[in-house]
């Protein structure tokens, strides 16, 4: 019974706080950080009413909170992910916790719903992934994410001045012309936005173009032409934002929206992008 005490002692110590042998709660990983003063997170809530806490290993800090596996276990989670109001509540809680960590230390945010069975498993991830996590932290240090989206302005209603008596051929020609005009406009837009993206990228540490958002989720009628993210140093943030806001101000056919700063979600990848 007493054999292997050395290897199990740290585990036993970690267990002491939580007496449950069969975990009814999981450890929801919010973010990985470093040089974080755990006291700075006093009062910060994670998911539901569970306060966040810090698990340290090899100089890295995982910010975690307890979650009930009746809610976040594989089966219930699958079900809950189909419930939009549940997703929204949890996404906002996750984001608020990430923001709280990001406000006080260099932070790599985790993807939604990364859950471990024990603190040992969390620490093990920090140990195994120490190098790529450190690289990610180095990359986002001193910078924040900015979102720049461009929408096509609402198209003027298709020419209502249609001739009363129009031949089939004339109709087809007019349709063809309209399709061609739209294709030209989209191609022009793409060129303008590609130039803008390039300009913004030179003002950023890193950049990414994301998938345009689904209009069914965004509720926007206008087609999204660009959904881009930029990692911008805090020093350059104001001029970046000013530039992005004004760059296409004279182009009525495109509307640009600048949003930030965000925690560096889009630049926290563990593989160099």
């Amino acid at each position: 019974m007493s054999s292997g005490r050395a290897s199990s002692s740290s585990r036993t110590a970690a267990r002491k706080e939580k007496a449950d042998p069969m975990p009814a709660s999981g450890h929801y990983l919010v973010a990985v950080s470093r040089s974080l003063d755990p006291h700075a997170l006093t009062g910060v809530q994670g998911i539901r009413d569970s306060a966040v806490r810090v698990v340290e290993c090899e100089g890295l800090q995982a910010v975690v909170c307890d979650v009930d596996l009746d809610e976040f276990g594989e089966e219930p989670l699958r079900r809950n992910l189909e419930n939009l109001s549940w997703v929204e509540e949890m996404a906002r809680a996750h984001h608020a916790a990430v923001c709280a960590v990001d406000a006080v230390a260099t932070t790599v945010p985790m993807r939604f719903a990364t859950i471990y069975e024990s603190e040992d498993r969390v620490a093990e991830q920090l140990r195994v992934l120490r190098d790529p996590l450190t690289e990610a932290l180095d990359r986002v240090d001193g910078a924040a994410e900015w979102s720049v989206k461009a929408y096509a302005a609402p198209v003027a209603a298709e020419a209502e001045d249609r001739p009363r008596a129009e031949t089939g051929a004339a109709y087809l020609a007019r349709r063809r012309e309209a399709v061609e005009a739209r294709r030209r406009r989209e191609s022009d837009d793409e060129q303008v936005l590609s130039d803008l993206h390039h300009e913004l990228a030179t003002r950023a540490v890193a950049s990414r173009r994301l998938m345009p958002q689904d209009p069914r989720l965004s509720g926007r009628q206008e087609p999204m032409r660009m959904n881009a993210a930029y990692l911008v140093t805090h020093d350059a943030a104001q001029s970046f934002s000013d530039y992005a806001t004004k760059a296409l101000a004279d182009r009525t056919e495109l509307r640009v929206e600048v949003d930030g700063p965000w925690p560096p979600y889009s630049f926290a990848s563990l593989e160099p992008s």
Partner: protein
């Protein structure tokens, strides 16, 4: 203080912007509980389900004329 301002900011962010980042990006570590969620495919499947439900929620929201966010 800081907490209030981040919470307030969070409430103003649109859900689609949040999901863009919480599901589409961020570090993907393989968790113990939901290994399959780390796979893009499942996220996409779930988003389809989400889109279906967002549409019905939007319809309801417009009917009720409420704005709770």
């Amino acid at each position: 203080m800081t907490l209030e301002s981040t919470t307030r900011a969070s409430a103003q962010i649109s859900l689609v912007d949040l999901l863009d980042r919480l599901l589409g990006t961020g570090v993907v570590l393989v968790g113990d509980v939901v290994i399959s969620l780390a796979g893009i495919d499942l996220v996409r499947v779930q988003l389809e389900a989400l889109i279906t439900s967002v549409r019905s929620e939007l319809d309801q929201g417009e009917d009720a004329g409420t704005d709770e966010a």
